[in-house]
């Protein structure tokens, strides 16, 4: 196997996957396999892939919720578990988990993640409260900061959950399927918010989604994941061929009439701005031919 690209570069990556694989107990194949991916500090990366393609697993690896079966993952050079506990990395999940009947105000929800790290015998320090207020302003939730959390629309709730992550002053923000339940009007607002977070806070942003709209909402670079990492480059470099490989047969339903040959697609991929980090058959065959 060739040397992973990531480890040969200098400088600390925000997130570095080096040959990372993860297999769930009792499964025959890896959920994600030999992923080499460097998320650079300050960039906005979209990870696009079909449902069941290992996106959530990749995210869990980055957050240190699971350890790679093989390979390693580093967040700012430290173990992801540590990065998570120290608040270097924060995430916004799909909003299914929250119990909205909870008697909490928007402000309390924004503060809860940061507050959970404050010693119990202390009141909330002023700097924590200020971080919360800044986060509320940043996501534009000032108008409903005192309302009960159960009284928000889907889009408002999502902003509040982003504010909760931002209030922890992380350096990387990870968003899982952020477009679920967001209407067309909300999409542009969401894209604007991401740009604001990136520009004003200098946040590194990773969006994980099966929805191209979510990725298109302001990512600098796209990686396609279907168990293995297929390619990454600027979004405009994202060709139907690459998508065909990732989504296989779903692509027609996605884009209408697109005829592609998956083998041809990966051999056509321009090595100039696309790194094939996976170990697709086409690629390996290519290496052998060059070697002989």
């Amino acid at each position: 196997m060739s040397e992973p690209v990531a480890s040969s570069r200098d400088g600390e990556a925000a997130i570095a996957f080096r040959g990372a694989s993860y297999r769930y107990d009792g499964q025959e194949i890896d959920a994600v396999e030999r992923v080499d991916l460097r998320v650079e500090v300050g960039e906005r990366l979209g990870v696009l892939g079909p449902n069941g393609g290992g996106k959530s697993t990749l995210l869990r690896l980055a957050l240190g919720l699971v350890r790679p079966t093989r390979g390693e993952v580093r967040v700012f050079g430290v173990a992801p578990e540590r990065a998570r506990r120290e608040g270097l990395i924060a995430s916004v999940a799909q909003r299914s988990g929250a119990e909205l009947a909870f008697p909490l105000s928007v402000r309390q929800v924004v503060l809860m993640a940061r507050a959970a790290r404050v010693a119990p015998w202390r009141g909330l320090p002023a700097e924590v409260r200020e971080a919360g207020e800044r986060a509320i302003d940043l996501v534009g939730a000032r108008g409903y900061a005192d309302r009960p959390i159960g009284a928000l629309s889907g889009g408002q709730l999502q902003r509040v959950l982003i504010a909760r992550a931002v209030a922890c002053s992380p350096r990387v923000l990870v968003l899982d399927e952020p477009m679920v339940g967001v209407d067309v009007l909300g999409q542009q607002k969401f894209a604007d918010l991401l740009t604001k977070l990136h520009d004003e806070m200098g946040l590194t942003i990773v969006i994980v989604s099966h929805d191209l709209r979510a990725i298109a909402a302001g990512c600098d670079r796209v990686a396609c994941l279907n168990r293995t990492l297929h390619s990454h480059g600027a979004p405009k470099g994202l060709t139907p061929q690459v998508l065909a490989e990732v989504f296989s047969h779903d692509v027609e339903a996605f884009f209408g009439e697109v005829h592609v040959d998956a083998h041809a697609a990966s051999e056509c991929a321009d090595p100039g701005h696309m790194h094939d980090h996976g170990h697709g058959h086409a690629h390996e065959r290519g290496d052998e031919e060059r070697g002989s």
Binding site: L63, L65, R84, R85, E86, G87, A90, S91, A93, G97, A98, E99, A101, F102, P103, L104, S105, Q108, V109, M112, A113, A115, A116, R117, V118, P120, P148, G150, A151, L161, R164, A165, C168
Partner: protein
């Protein structure tokens, strides 16, 4: 008023004051946990754990721990039952994660009940043969009996109340996050499994002391009703928490007064008063002008 008479008559005060003080303590203990029990949907787990206590009592009697007489006996009984409850709570938490939690709870519940019934019989026979203290009637374990509460039990109930309230206070910010959104709490670095386990142990502790007074079956009521009442009255966390404590104390003390005045069993009287409060609050909260929620 029989209540006044019971509490002021020198001969009776030694029986009824411990009952009232212990009732106050279990009200605070259960109310402390009840808001989270309701919101985190732990009521059915509480039901399973409280019935597991029945198995624990059976084990205690078979090994000769009756909880009667010395402090050692009392602590021994509490310890065995607590151990039994904690093990079943953790079993439910562990298997419920992978399998269907409600089935796991049902299995633990009936298993512990069956074991308890069998062990009660075994203990009853050997006690009769050896001339030792025979176990109490199954009914008193199921429905509790305030009348057997002495000063020692009352003090123990207060110790447990202070422990449960203290731990909950120390963990309040984490518990709120965990109960509100467990997956997110994990993703933000909270040790959610530890928090869950601590909550299970607190639940078991609350159930063990409540069981002595209100019985196995009614322990669940005290863990659910105060939270359910308080959540209908406010959407502010601190207010809800305080209201749950008030509701529980009013319910328990009101239930005791009812039981004294009408000569009823204490456990069911307490539940009756709490249920009555819930109905009043639910109707009021839905009444057009009484809409204070939302």
């Amino acid at each position: 008023m029989r209540t006044i008479e019971y509490l002021t008559e020198p001969g009776l005060a030694g029986i009824y004051w411990p009952m009232v003080l212990a009732g106050f303590a279990i009200a605070l203990t259960c109310a402390t946990l009840s808001v989270v029990v309701v919101l985190k949907r732990l009521a059915f787990i509480g039901q399973g754990v409280s019935h597991a206590a029945f198995g624990g009592v059976g084990v205690a009697y078979v090994v000769g721990v009756t909880g009667v007489g010395s402090l050692g006996q009392e602590l021994g009984l509490l310890g065995i039952v607590l151990g039994f409850c904690v093990v079943s709570a953790l079993t439910i938490a562990h298997f419920g994660r992978e399998d269907r939690a409600d089935s796991v709870i049902a299995i633990v519940l009936v298993g512990a009940m069956a074991l308890g019934f069998i062990l009660f019989e075994v203990a009853g026979r050997s006690a009769a043969a050896g001339g030792r203290v025979s176990p109490p009637g199954v009914e008193s374990v199921l429905f509790g009996s305030f009348t057997g509460v002495g000063w020692r039990s009352a003090v123990l109930a207060w110790v447990v109340a202070l422990v449960v309230m203290g731990v909950t206070w120390a963990l309040r910010r984490r518990v709120v996050f965990w109960a509100f959104d467990e997956p997110a709490a994990e993703a933000f670095g909270l040790r959610t499994r530890v928090l869950g386990a601590v909550q299970m142990v607190l639940l078991a502790l609350a159930i063990v002391v409540t069981m002595r007074l209100a019985g196995v079956i009614l322990a669940t009521a005290l863990l659910v009703l105060p939270g359910a009442i308080a959540l209908r009255l406010s959407r502010r966390s601190v207010v809800v928490f305080v209201l749950a404590q008030i509701a529980a104390v009013v319910g328990v003390l009101g239930g005791l007064v009812l039981s004294f005045e009408a000569d009823l069993q204490q456990g069911p009287s307490v539940v009756g008063v709490l249920l009555g409060m819930l109905v009043v609050v639910a109707v009021w909260a839905r009444w057009p002008k009484g809409q204070i929620v939302r």
